[in-house]
């Protein structure tokens, strides 16, 4: 691919983002503007902003890459990301807006009148936010590396700098415009190339074996394995090897590999014959955005699918950057309508990544072995169309991918900085918010540069699992159950979120190896979400004396329509 076009596109997106942010800055005058855009963002603008913020690197590149490598089971990710908003709408949206709080810690304090619970929630918000920022920065690095061969860390640094400048300068008002702009940019950047790719696929005779399992090579293809990878073969495979397989060096000879696991050293070139099934790569392939590289298709039990569904359905409501945006709605009814619009917008957008995944299985199945499956979306235009047209479409996709990193990263930074400013740094002024912004971005940036090659890939899935087992019980029980007590809330968040975090951390460290325990720990949501709820309920029931005295009034505020409440205060 011609990297000049791509670099231009990425630069244009960064520039346009700063310009739109500056436009917002001109109307961002008061402190209220700064934090919540003065709560005047209407459903349409806010819905585009929420969607723009939500469609992250994992959605833009990761889903297509996962579908390419692991097949249609992975389509549960976009379904879960979307359905999470339905669950949020049903139980949280309007009362959350009516609570009048700005962040999750604000909510915890308003509901439970407890500083300890507030601090605990704040810590979890910062932790989840950082976990989610890390893959955004790494994805930016991967994109720039694939496109231009730039060093890994450069993309992350660019995203970090642009985001810090926008957020610190303009706050929520300018971010709202930036996010809304980036939703439409991301839609265009996937839709236009997708149309051309589908046309190219049709003129190619519309081959339909993309849906076959497993994917197969359509023609003889030479694959260069960049990083050492373990190949899992379900059937014996004959392949021409130029390099090292299983510790034995070959020099362009045909090798028959029996079924089982084989280690391919980095730098090896494999030539696959036409019609060969694409073998699956195990640990070692560096799919940086994959939320679940801990397992491959074969050892993916039904249980894991349900764990994924539960984590995404219940985790969305607790993501810090999602929650903050609800406070910018003018009232509870608008918050509900905004959520419906969001469902429509992201649902429409999620129709596109599967197209790339399916075409990737046809035209770029070798990406599963090279360790750049996440780059499928970026590389397909060049592979299928080629020439200047392919370069231009590839540049459009690259620009969209950068928009994805920028928008999600800025929303997360906004949320983390809000918590840091209110709960960690001493005074609450705009100047301190800017300091908080720098701090909010510096930590994940340092982590992404330091741990560059380590498996931080599960960070997105981990963020969802932790959020689903800590914030989801807090929000749902806090809004609907009047007997919730501060000790109960604290215990539930600690036990649910803590166990989810430990389970995934143990998996990433490679602790249980394989078998049922592995799946149980890699997909903790199925037991950690009920555990969080149960702990919160049982501890609350055990401490009935600690129900905050103002609970009834607080719940009335959460649920009464605004037209009743404004007259009350008047």
């Amino acid at each position: 691919m011609n990297s000049a076009y791509a670099v231009t596109a990425v630069a244009l997106v960064a520039l346009a983002t700063v310009l739109v942010g500056a436009f917002g800055l001109r109307i961002s005058r008061t402190t209220s503007d700064f934090y919540v855009a003065s709560r005047t963002v209407g459903p349409r603008l806010n819905a585009a902003a929420i969607s723009g913020e939500y469609l992250s690197a994992a959605s833009f590149l990761g889903i297509a890459g996962l579908v390419l490598v692991q097949g249609p089971d992975m389509l549960w990710y976009p379904v879960g990301y979307t359905a999470g908003y339905l669950v949020l709408l049903l139980f949280v949206a309007a009362p959350l807006r009516r609570s009048g709080a700005y962040t999750l810690p604000d909510f915890a304090e308003a509901r439970l009148a407890s500083h300890a619970v507030r601090r605990l929630a704040g810590g979890l918000v910062v932790g989840v936010g950082w976990l989610y920022l890390l893959p955004q920065l790494q994805g930016a690095g991967l994109t720039l590396t694939v496109l231009t061969g730039a060093p890994d860390w450069l993309g992350g640094v660019i995203v970090a700098v642009v985001v810090t400048v926008i957020v610190a300068a303009g706050g929520m008002r300018s971010i709202t415009f930036v996010q809304a702009f980036q939703y439409w940019l991301k839609l265009t950047a996937l839709l236009v190339p997708a149309l051309f790719l589908v046309l190219a696929w049709q003129s190619d005779g519309a081959p339909s074996h993309a849906f076959d399992e497993p994917a197969a090579f359509r023609e003889q293809r030479v694959v260069r394995v960049d990083d050492t990878v373990d190949l899992r073969l379900a059937e014996p495979l004959t392949v021409t090897v130029d390099g090292t397989v299983d510790g034995r060096a070959h020099d362009g000879t045909d090798v028959s590999l029996p079924a089982g696991t084989h280690r391919i050293d980095g730098g090896t070139r494999l030539t696959f014959a036409e019609g060969t099934a694409v073998p699956s790569a195990g640990r070692g392939a560096d799919d940086a955005l994959s939320p679940s590289r801990a397992e491959s298709r074969e050892e993916r039990p039904l249980y894991a699918t349900y764990g994924l569904i539960l984590a995404t359905f219940f985790g969305t409501m607790g993501l810090p950057h999602v929650v903050v945006r609800f406070y910018t709605s003018p009232h509870g009814v608008a918050a509900r309508r905004t959520t419906v619009a969001v469902l429509g917008l992201i649902g429409a957008w999620y129709l596109l990544p599967p197209v790339y995944g399916a075409l990737g299985r046809l035209y770029a199945p070798d990406l599963t072995l090279t360790g750049h499956a996440d780059a499928a979306v970026l590389l397909l235009p060049g592979r299928m169309i080629g020439g200047t047209g392919g370069d231009l479409l590839g540049a459009l996709v690259a620009g969209g991918a950068f928009a994805a990193f920028l928008s999600t990263a800025s929303g997360l930074t906004m949320a983390v900085a809000g918590v840091l400013t209110q709960d960690v740094l001493p005074s609450r002024g705009v100047r301190h918010f800017r300091l908080g912004t720098v701090f909010a971005m510096a930590v994940p940036l340092a982590a992404s540069v330091l741990v560059g090659g380590l498996p931080v890939a599960d960070a997105v899935g981990l963020a969802f699992a932790v959020s689903a087992s800590s914030f989801c019980p807090l929000l749902v029980l806090g809004i609907w159950w009047r007997r919730l007590t501060p000790p109960g809330a604290a215990a539930g968040m600690l036990v649910g979120g803590g166990s989810a975090f430990l389970a995934v951390a143990a998996t990433m460290a490679g602790y249980p190896g394989a078998g049922p325990w592995h799946a149980l720990l890699a997909w903790p949501a199925l037991w950690s979400v009920p555990l969080g709820f149960l702990t919160m309920i049982l501890v609350s029931l055990a401490t009935p004396g600690r129900v905050p005295p103002g609970t009834a009034a607080v719940l009335a505020r959460f649920h009464l329509p605004e037209e009743l409440r404004t007259e009350v205060s008047a």
């Binding site: 249609p72 669950v87 009814v333 469902l343 129709l351």
Partner: protein, 118 residues
């Protein structure tokens, strides 16, 4: 328009109505504002209807999505899985959301009408 007969009638009938309401047992707005036990009962009833609406839609969602992984595991038809997960599930999600919002807003309107005694 002071010569309008309607206008005059309002002035005449206003005061008696107000005294009747103030002396009555039944003034939900005040009960809620002053956080009496009766007021809490009103808020509780609103919460119950809203929670029922949410749980109804949630149950539909569970019935819709819950069996799917089992179906895909039982009948490994890749084409079906692509169609359902890639396209088929999004329209029902949006329709469920719209249905819920309409019902939740109607619940709130009914509640306002009740407590304002209109």
């Amino acid at each position: 328009m002071p010569q309008d007969p309607m206008e005059r009638r309002v002035v005449v009938t206003g005061p008696p109505r107000r005294t009747r309401r103030a002396s009555g047992y039944y003034r939900p707005r005040t009960e809620i504002d002053e956080q009496t036990t009766l007021g809490h009962t009103y808020v509780r009833s609103l919460m119950r209807t809203q929670l029922r609406a949410g749980l109804t839609v949630f149950a539909v969602l569970v019935l819709l999505v819950g069996p799917l992984p089992l179906v895909f595991a039982a009948a490994p038809d890749a084409g079906l899985e692509w169609a359902v997960l890639g396209f088929g599930l999004y329209p029902p999600l949006v329709l469920l959301a719209r249905w819920y919002v309409r019902r939740a807003e109607r619940n709130e309107r009914d509640f306002v009408r009740l407590v304002e005694d209109r």
